[in-house]
Symmetry: C2
């Protein structure tokens, strides 16, 4: 069995290797948010600051997307290779080292779009990753006991190996083409790189429509593992580990800065604050508030994610994609919170920072809700009975998932109307949402009782409302 | 079963909650290395720089120890409470938020040792954590299906609950005492805090000698879970998750800085380097080298850790403590690597930085080796047969674990003798160690063949050497 710690001829369970890889990749996916965070607000004109910030945010989002793609490819590979040995573990470390270098090469590309060097470095990294993965596939297929049990006894194993190698190698080949083209016309090489990054989605659409592209016939069920079909299952365990890593690093982003920057210099305290540490720390007050606010929000979004995936039995690629989008928004949250306190009160900037925070929370929550909606479309395979339509926790799950989008939208609209009270409204929201989560079952029951009272006026719907009422009664 | 995703009355598997907590705590344990890393070398005199650095390193090490203690307490609690529900998950998030704030309060204490505020903040945090944990224990014991299956049917459940509450509550009580004392005599309150932090070890020794402190009789086997005995098992899964988090964040520390600082400004490149990006990046060369060197070292130390714990079946508290020491040294590694390139070549500083790197690698590896040695002392319970004395992979494991300490010691001694070649020797070491790990089986076989040749001269030891030879032959 794949979870057995010791197997034949020194093969090992891959569990911990994958957990470590997930931790590394999730840190790297969020790393480009740091240059956004540490952009000095004062030293730029308003317009150039906005250009700079939007460039950096663009780099962050693209990096997140690229690294998530690399993670998905890694995840797919280790759904086929389910056991490892020392050599695979060491090759995987080489792979990780190169993946962690990708964000830097990409940010070079973004800062110097007309220099060939950035493109060459990026393509070089991707090509070497592709080659290392090719070596890993060849190695694993030469030792079939490392492969997924369903594959080990297949007669067309070499056919399958060629399929996987074709999928893996087309990325470095496109990059080779892009780096050759870069010398002639760098615009064209960007087009090629864009194709590389979105290739999985293009081929998903092609496979989805063609369906018979696999050797002229239908795709066998077990080959779904490496087929790029939209309903292809992802490893739920790895998706959770990757998400946990992102939520953890994002939740601690602000405290990392606070620990580094907000311990005042003893000589400064004795000179400027007459030795009163309390006065010295009071100036940092808003930063502590930003930290606790962002930690609570990220923590509660993690809680919603956790509650949802507890009831998910199968993760499709579309759900994985929506999860990536949600995580990308979560990554921007601490900075938005930080910005809310950096500007003078009642200024236009403060209002904008608060509204941006609301928009980010809204989308992070909305994409989580979308994951559930997609899962409900295939609820027989994707969800446990409890949260399906009519399940005992269906409404509770809906309440959990829609709490943040609703509150964020409400706060946004309120700050539009009552713009001079935007800061108090936002702080009130920060305080009430954790309480709302604690009392969610109670609130839901109250809401349903209220609904029932209203619906009882219409005698025909009585049965439906009883169903609603008993649904949260368990 | 505890791994069942859905249990009775909305209880859930705690697996993912613990993984997320481990990720958060491991990031926070290493966070105080950042102020050390970002201390500007140029702007201080040599002596004050050394004082500043050693203070910051002291703060880092103490923070690591304190956060590790908090992690151990958290781990111990969730060995008793094996299933969770929504309320426990939310309470746990509150706990995590306070734990992530501990390093900051501690660094305030270190920067202003004579101010009461630092002590009060630290004690306040610890007291609130203790109270939240008390609430969690009371809640979990009022719903026995959340507890460890061995406990659920025990008649003396309330006795056990009181034991756990006593253990948990003495920490906040000591902190209360310390914060009251701080107003009178702050030195005394430091003594009290030191007792709090090292209390688990003191009571371990007391329990170990007394042995009968548990309700006047011997400690039942299943109650080892919360006994503070030195042989009390730790959760292996959580120790691995915590270690993975530390290795992952440490491996990426340098690339975080590189991504943020080492993308040159386009205007600077066109002015100073005539638009040549290659020339501009060449000045960062040493930093890339430091990154790859530290990533490879941390990655390979992770690999050794992974190989060892693959064969460990039970983790005792002593092994956990040695693991913490090893991780604390690993945390300093990237900085040591970075320092090796910050000073002019052939300077005394460069030599010292290289030697410090060797010392750190040596201790990080040595403590890993110690974990194995301790496990070998109880090899029947703690290790799989393969790596016990005479097992088929005993020698291979010894080689893996002793490679880094030996190489680091060798490099250190070489740089003492050939101090003008210290940098080339160090770079050669960085290059050869990954190769040595790849070829470890081969190298070991060669070494043993050599040994056999030598030993064959002495006819009496032939049998022993054959045993040695066949040991790595599988």
């Amino acid at each position: 069995s794949p979870s057995d710690p010791e197997g034949p001829s020194g093969s090992q369970s891959s569990h911990r290797l994958l957990a470590y890889s997930d931790a590394l990749i999730s840190i790297i996916a969020t790393v480009m948010i740091l240059p956004v965070a540490h952009t000095p607000v004062e030293s730029y004109e308003v317009l150039s600051l906005q250009v700079l910030l939007s460039t950096k945010i663009g780099v962050y989002l693209m990096t997140f997307l690229i690294v998530s793609m690399a993670w998905a490819a890694h995840s797919r590979l280790f759904q086929v290779v389910v056991r490892i040995d020392d050599y695979l573990a060491l090759f995987n470390l080489v792979c990780m080292m190169l993946i962690t270098f990708l964000p830097y090469t990409f940010s070079l590309m973004a800062a110097f779009p007309e220099h060939v060097l950035g493109i060459l470095l990026f393509c070089g990294c991707v090509m070497v990753i592709g080659l290392v993965q090719t070596v890993m596939v060849l190695y694993a297929f030469s030792r079939p006991h490392l492969l997924h049990p369903q594959l080990q006894d297949r007669p067309d194993l070499s056919h399958y190996q060629h399929h996987i190698l074709r999928v893996i190698l087309r990325v470095p080949l496109m990059c080779l083409l892009a780096s050759v083209t870069a010398a002639v016309c760098f615009q064209l090489s960007y087009v090629l790189l864009a194709i590389v990054i979105f290739l999985p989605y293009i081929s998903a659409a092609r496979c989805g429509s063609g369906a018979g592209s696999w050797a002229g016939g239908g795709v066998p069920e077990e080959l779904l593992l490496y087929s790029f079909l939209p309903h292809e299952p992802l490893s739920k365990e790895r998706l959770e580990a990757f998400s946990d890593g992102v939520y953890a690093i994002v939740a601690t982003l602000l405290i990392l800065d606070i620990c580094e920057d907000n311990v005042p210099d003893p000589s400064l305290v004795s000179q400027r604050f007459n030795g009163s540490l309390v006065l010295a720390l009071r100036s940092y007050g808003p930063e502590y508030l930003a930290y606790f606010g962002s930690f609570a929000t990220v923590g509660l979004l993690w809680f919603v994610h956790h509650s949802l995936f507890l009831h998910v039995t199968k993760v499709t690629r579309l759900m994985g994609l929506l999860n990536t989008f949600s995580l990308a928004f979560v990554g921007g949250l601490p900075l938005a919170y930080q910005l809310t306190h950096e500007f003078p009160t009642h200024s236009q900037n403060e209002l904008e920072a608060i509204q941006i925070s609301c928009i980010i929370i809204f989308f992070a929550g909305l994409f989580q809700l979308c994951i559930w909606v997609v899962a409900l479309h295939h609820q027989q395979e994707c969800l446990l009975p409890r949260v399906r339509y009519g399940g005992s926790e269906h409404l509770l799950m809906l309440a959990k998932l829609s709490l943040y989008p609703c509150v964020a939208l409400g706060t946004f609209l309120l700050t539009c109307v009552l713009s001079q009270f935007s800061a108090p409204i936002f702080h009130l929201m920060e305080l009430t949402v954790p309480l709302a989560f604690l009392l969610l079952r109670l609130l839901l029951r109250l809401l349903l009782a209220l609904l029932r009272l209203l619906l009882l006026q219409l005698p025909s719907s009585e049965e439906g409302s009883t169903l609603l009422y008993t649904a949260v009664d368990s």
